[in-house]
Subunit: 455 residues, 2 copies
């Protein structure tokens, strides 16, 4: 058999020309967004003050299989795509496993992650609609960086509300956004009504994604020519991120490889939903026998310990309700939680698939994640983001099981990004100052008790 | 004509199998290293306590054209090579220039630069010789990071002396090296005799590359099983870095393109010497009519304002003497100088080529460099290292000249790395706190006056 290279690159011509809509293959469609007042499904016109028109169509469309990638987005993709699918020969050797490990590396761009795939799409539709700018929130900072790059490229204003704890711990992320011309505000802030309210109720709070979303939405709906954009959770985001999975499958197909398992980290679900899209389709259609595994932090375990129910998407409760695995919109991970994957809920698409038994989920404590990250870095060269390292951890665990059983399984995981802006966390890990706070059942019962009553 | 893609990738099979030794094409060979005591050319056996045996052969060999890349180094290269040659369509459009701009991007690896190309080679020969570890110095930190990655991969100890000012300003660089298991000491330190001496003479000094080299060499020669390795200046380093130029030329040849100019930043010369290697050969042989341009910081102008003479390579004067364009071994760039390119001298190979009129050199002030960096980042997406941005600045200048004249020149430049660890400098630039200190003639006369007398 032909020797598989270290990195399988597609040519630019082989890059997918359309995004794949996984919802079109789902027998049970994801539950619709509900109006928080009436609890009726949100209509396009109700979403229009918040989101761009074309993105609303993508958000609500459960049937169309493929959405063509606009030429301008496609040209932008070519600056950093196709991304490599790497055969982890060095990791396999270090582990002594008969498993064949591949990872799709999305970190080779300045945002340092896969987030750019959706940022450029959303910015493109905003500009096409004649808007002046967009608002958003960011936690660890990858999404805010990605959006600022996309907006800079297209000449749009970009206002980012950055979770305060990250704003203070990651001044360099802020500086990159500034290089790309974005306006970055620590959240909660005194620049919005909801920010003032949250600060009055919780003085000294270090913020959360839920707060930052509320502030960004408020500014979008109250500023002429602005709309709000979001880097995860939404159906449209998973649609754009399908390019990850489509490229991965195309690269594997070149060598006739079918994965035995596909592993991805899961916060809101943007990477996982994109990575698994074509594999899940094939699994649903009975064409592929493959485990699909979501990996989440033990400190923010929405799949493994959350409730599948309608919930608020934001702390300020200004957004539509979404049905998802959730820890409650008031949930905030412990301060020692490093990196992203800190959202209280999970993509409705992934939540439905998980509820249907089509995918598995595991949660892992963060010191184990950093151990896996360091092990990976030393043999594969790439310094991984903490988020991505959740997938590394489980990929290594699965590869070690293969070592025990002697099975030559094919493991594919998503390496979503690099950890260049996460070195404070690495330092804590090296200095033995990192611990594994895991929320108690009482903690979760309390935050989940805040769920809205929806019939 | 076939449309040229955004990124020209070679396949792994097309990656060069051997390094090219530019000295073999030079009519005037670079001047030999001299024994600092006798002023006689250094013999291999005199270099053996400091350098690895195989690397000494490479250092002294002016005739062999090609050195095969060992299989293990080649396999390591495959983790991040071939690197892309990018057509800067977006930059061309933003500038409105008829010039065709290409850049060879070496930043897509965790060291964030081209330095890994030589680090893995040097670490490989050290391990093959049965050594226990290596010592080195690092300034901005790319080289130290690269060497720590290579040593971690091959199971060698790695001791890095990091210029104190960088050690303090770049704690994250230090943390990456620690992730890869390196031992990092701020220089000058009290752990070496020469460090103690320098600290006694210059209490409170923030260090220099020259000091750090002296300390690293001292530890190498006084610790059994250790040798010293260096990331720039040396002939062997330019040899290993020739892979940059060979890949660049191979990618251009796929589309029948010949460059009108090749531009690279120059500190000690590792990137420039590697990038230009095959183009300079063709120029020397009369097969290519091409300008070759070195770009250096106005704050450390060894080509444009230095003297071509034998000089000490280090502050402690323990190393052999090298003939080079130099500012004197006591020269230290002003504290406001950001990034690398801070060595007082320049590769002997490049010095000879420059003296022979085969290449040009220009110096640029750093605020201009950061302006070009930001302009580039906003349209090409990549956040460039300050070092690399010197080449960007001159590439843009040349492209703008083409706009005036209407000439469709082909410009190739080296984008050596990314600026993720240089955001303190970017912040100063954004805040208007960066200035352009340029050494006075008196400053330079003073440091150049320290040159040794060699007949």
């Amino acid at each position: 058999m032909e020797k598989i290279p270290y990195k399988i690159y597609l040519t630019e011509d082989e890059m997918p020309k359309a995004w794949y809509n996984l919802r079109s293959a789902m027998k049970n469609k994801p539950a619709p967004l509900l109006n928080p007042g009436t609890h009726e499904p949100m209509k396009a016109e109700e979403l229009a003050p918040v989101f761009c028109e074309e993105l609303i169509k993508q958000e609500l469309d459960n049937d169309t299989e493929y959405f063509p990638i606009p030429q301008e987005v496609y040209d932008f993709y070519k600056m950093y795509r196709p991304s490599p699918l790497v055969r982890a020969y060095c990791l396999e050797k270090a582990l002594g496993t008969p498993a064949k490990i591949y990872y799709k590396f999305e970190g080779n761009n300045t945002s340092g992650s896969h987030k750019l795939n959706s940022a450029i799409a959303q910015a493109y539709y905003a500009r096409r609609q004649g808007l002046k700018g967009v608002t958003t929130e960011t936690g660890a900072g990858q999404w805010g960086t990605a959006l600022s790059m996309a907006c800079s490229y297209l000449g749009l204003d970009c206002k980012v509300f950055m979770v305060k704890v990250s704003y203070e711990q990651k001044p360099f992320r802020r500086e990159v956004m500034r290089t790309y011309g974005a306006d970055v505000t620590p959240s909660p802030s005194m620049t919005t009504e909801i920010g003032k309210k949250i600060l009055a109720e919780h003085p000294g709070t270090t913020g959360s994604l839920g707060c930052a979303i509320s502030e960004a939405v408020e500014v979008a709906v109250s500023t002429p020519g602005y709309r709000y954009v979001l880097g995860s959770v939404l159906n449209q985001v998973l649609l754009h991120q399908s390019i990850i999975g489509l490229e991965t499958q195309a690269a594997l197909n070149k060598y006739g490889i079918k994965p035995d398992m596909v592993i991805g980290c899961a916060g809101g679900g943007s990477n996982l939903g994109g990575l698994i899209a074509p594999f899940m389709r094939d699994k649903i259609n009975g064409d592929l026998d493959c485990r699909i595994i979501a990996v989440e932090p033990a400190s923010c375990p929405s799949f493994t310990r959350g409730k599948y129910a309608y919930d608020f998407c934001d702390t300020g409760m200004v957004c539509p309700l979404a049905k998802m695995y959730t820890l409650g919109s008031g949930f905030i991970p412990a301060p020692n939680h490093a990196g992203g994957l800190r959202y209280h809920g999970m993509s409705s698409i992934l939540s439905q698939l998980y509820d249907d038994g089509l995918m598995e989920a595991v949660s892992v404590p963060q010191t184990e994640v950093f151990k896996a990250a360091e092990q990976f870095a030393r043999v594969e060269g790439i310094l991984p983001a903490p988020e991505s390292s959740h997938a590394i951890k489980v990929a290594i665990d699965e590869a070690m099981k293969c070592k025990e059983t002697g099975e030559e399984k094919t493991i594919v995981f998503g390496l979503t990004g690099t950890g260049y802006f996460d070195l404070v966390a690495y330092q804590k890990f090296h200095d033995g100052e990192m611990d594994d706070y895991i929320p108690t059942d009482e903690d979760l019962a309390k935050s989940i008790a805040s769920l809205p009553q929806v019939d």
